[in-house]
């Protein structure tokens, strides 16, 4: 029981990341009808927003103090982070909380990147076949990751999580189990709750705002909405920006769990496509459910008990699920009947 609960929890944070990326992919597919292979690159760009933010906030002012000698007899360099000079004690707190704070940078940046990407490139591909959409966004993903590599270098850059959120939470106690039976890193819990929050926000936005209502109407019947005199293209562009923001913030918050490197977008992209297909092309709840489902499945498959029965299952479980779903139920778990069903 403990082990099962522990694995369930382990799957949740990864599942959260999958769900967020797949949500964005599905949004783009549902609104614009574009298969976006560069979506993983947006996740990666989000992660590097966190790196940039940390770089900016830890810029230092170096003063050489001739009176104060180091052990080697050279003048000591006194480094004070600019944040500390400006904000006093708050500076250290800011640096400590740099990862969550980078969301403030990531949201506008990703929105702009998303809108520029859609207006600059994607909009020319609405009418082109899916194969060409895949190809051009695949090329774009290569370009984006190479640019990041040229700027930040090929090595992963680890990001520290805030002091207060390190350590493990005793989750078992909450549901009446013995103390220390099931513990779980706090940051992973934070990530899970964060992803739930973002998902809820996106759904609420689509559900309860006029803008969201128009977008949903456009997803159902783009032409009629256009005939009503609504500029649906502009709203879809904004939705693309929103999908980029969702992928970006998912990347930002994931940095303490996985030090960002330039090719992580590709690694997550393949998985997220599988997630989208399992959930059902164009179904938002499907993408979310499949994200968590696959995250949990993956963590169960990596249990030693299961690996000893089926060696190597942890390596292929996600792809295997995708194959089975596609062959048995091609519209995915929650996909609408008739959408991409062939």
């Amino acid at each position: 029981m403990d082990a099962i609960l522990a694995q369930l929890l382990n799957g949740l944070d990864k599942g959260g990341a999958y769900a967020l990326i797949a949500l964005g992919l599905t949004l783009v597919f549902g609104t614009l009808g574009v298969v976006n292979f560069a979506h993983g690159a947006l996740f990666m760009l989000g992660a590097f927003c966190a790196v940039t933010f940390r770089y900016i906030i830890t810029l230092e002012n170096v003063v050489i103090d001739p009176d104060n000698l180091t052990a080697w007899g050279t003048p000591a360099e006194i480094r004070t982070p600019l944040a500390q000079t400006w904000f006093g004690d708050w500076g250290a707190v800011l640096i400590d909380w740099s990862v969550p704070l980078s969301l403030l940078l990531a949201i506008p940046v990703m929105l702009v990147i998303g809108i520029v990407m859609e207006r600059g490139l994607i909009k020319h591909f609405y009418k082109r076949p899916h194969a060409e959409q895949i190809l051009v966004t695949f090329g774009l993903a290569i370009v984006l990751q190479e640019i990041v590599k040229a700027i930040f270098g090929p090595n992963p850059i680890s990001q520290a999580m805030p002091q207060a959120l390190r350590g493990a939470a005793d989750v078992g106690v909450l549901i009446g189990m013995a103390q220390g039976a099931v513990t779980y890193p706090v940051w992973r819990l934070v990530y899970f709750l964060f992803s739930l929050g973002v998902i809820a926000a996106v759904f609420a936005f689509l559900r309860f705002t006029t803008f969201g209502m128009v977008v949903r109407a456009g997803m159902a019947d783009r032409e009629t909405v256009g005939l009503l005199g609504i500029n649906i293209d502009r709203r879809f562009t904004i939705m693309f920006g929103l999908a980029a923001v969702v992928a970006g913030v998912a990347g930002v918050m994931y940095t303490p769990l996985l030090p960002p490197n330039y090719h992580q977008g590709m690694d997550f992209l393949v998985l997220s496509f599988v997630v989208v297909v399992v959930g059902g092309m164009g179904s938002l709840p499907g993408a979310v459910a499949a994200g968590f489902l696959l995250g949990i499945l993956q963590s169960f498959a990596s249990m030693n008990e299961i690996k000893s029965i089926l060696p190597g299952i942890d390596q292929i479980i996600i792809y295997l699920t995708a194959v089975v779903i596609l062959l048995v139920r091609p519209r995915g778990l929650l996909g609408r009947r008739g959408v991409m069903e062939s």
Binding site: A131, E132, I142, Y319, S342
Partner: protein
């Protein structure tokens, strides 16, 4: 014999192609690519791309997992070297057979879906093969260290004929060792044969049937064809081409690693085909050459070479030019590749061959105009 009959145009294309391939050491000299290792790659990846084009170019099914067949071909060839003989013919035959069977199994399942679902299915199978080759299949694939020849290999047939020599053996053809230029010419002859087969497929009723699947699968099935066996045959043929390419990679360097099966490798062959021109005979070959050339030559560029290249530019600009250009070569050659890829898909969806046709139609009025959609990639939906 209808087997060797072909239209005059096809015969001319084949002759010209053979001439270009066999004189490769001459015309690659001015562009600094005339060393055997690179020319072998030119030839081998041309075979891979031709095979991929038989599937994607003719039927429109976009496979994102073709590298798996290449990897299987390599592993089979190296195992044949290890167990039976260093002669390349058995290795190639076995590699084609095994990868063909593998393609049959994967194709049988994947062909049940079309469009993007087919792409995802092939991708999933290839990723499974790659992950398994890296982990549990280590006894067969030797995992991260790659499968290679050892001094203790049984090599049953070779050792029955001659005693074990000192050092690692090299691949041979009827006793002739295939290293350097010899290896290149062997691969070149194989490429010409592969190209000939591709010409025959393109010109055959079977090829027409595949084109019919690409342009309108529904109509094909309404006329009474069961399209799936034909598409599956195309899939298996292109898998066998990939296996052949994998075997030749093992011939030129008897080493097989799992990274050959990774999905980036699958993406690369898609790229080659698109860049050259989907559905054309020569296009994929040109695409393969361009990409391998970029990979080898551009990635070897460094700032000194660039600095010499920009010598004509006045000083203050000189350094900026070098700094900007250096981002696109050496380590950053993939950036160039990605940009090129985006530009080609946006402006020239038919690839380089379409560009050549467009330029050609500017000059020659008599040339018949090509309908714009003819060479475009249409997914089978």
């Amino acid at each position: 014999m209808t087997l060797f009959q072909m239209t005059r145009r096809d015969a001319l294309v084949l002759l010209a192609f053979a001439a270009v391939i066999l004189t490769m050491p001459l015309w690659t000299a001015p562009i600094g690519a005339n060393y055997p290792g690179l020319m072998q790659k030119f030839v081998i990846f041309a075979i891979f791309a031709i095979g991929f084009n038989v599937l994607f170019g003719l039927t429109g099914y976009l496979s994102f997992g073709h590298a798996a067949f290449l990897g299987v071909g390599s592993y089979t060839a190296v195992w044949t070297f290890k167990l039976l003989t260093m002669d390349v013919l058995p290795a190639i035959v076995f590699a084609i057979l095994v990868s063909g069977l593998f393609a049959l199994a994967i194709g049988y399942l994947s062909m049940r879906r079309s469009g993007i679902y087919f792409s995802i299915l092939t991708l999933a199978f290839a990723q499974m093969s790659y992950n398994l080759a890296y982990s549990v299949l280590t006894p067969i694939t030797n995992g991260e260290t790659s499968l290679q020849l050892t001094l203790q290999d049984p090599r049953v047939i070779d050792l029955a004929l001659a005693p074990r020599g000192a050092g690692l053996p090299t691949a041979s053809l009827f006793g002739q060792t295939l290293t350097g230029l010899g290896g290149f010419y062997f691969c070149a002859v194989v490429l010409i044969v592969a190209f000939f087969i591709a010409i025959k497929i393109f010109a055959s009723p079977f090829g027409m049937m595949l084109r019919g699947i690409k342009s309108n699968q529904t109509r094909m099935s309404y006329t009474g064809f069961n399209t799936r066996p034909y598409a599956l045959t195309a899939f298996v043929i292109s898998g066998m081409y990939a296996g052949l390419a994998g075997a030749l990679l093992a011939v030129t360097d008897p080493l097989a690693g799992a990274e050959r099966m990774q999905w980036t490798a699958s993406g690369e062959v898609v790229l080659m085909t698109i860049l050259g021109g989907v559905g054309t005979l020569i296009g994929p070959v040109i695409g393969a050459w361009l990409i391998k050339y970029f990979e080898n030559i551009f990635s070897a560029f460094n700032e000194q070479i660039l600095s010499r290249f920009f010598d004509f530019v006045p000083d203050p600009l000189h350094d900026t030019m070098v700094a900007i250009a250096s981002k696109f070569v050496g380590e950053g050659w993939q950036l160039t590749l990605g940009l090129l890829f985006v530009l080609v898909v946006v402006f020239l969806p038919g690839g380089i061959m379409e560009g050549v046709r467009r330029i050609g139609s500017l000059f020659g009025r008599r040339s018949t105009p090509v309908s714009p959609g003819a060479a475009r990639a249409q997914p089978a939906e």
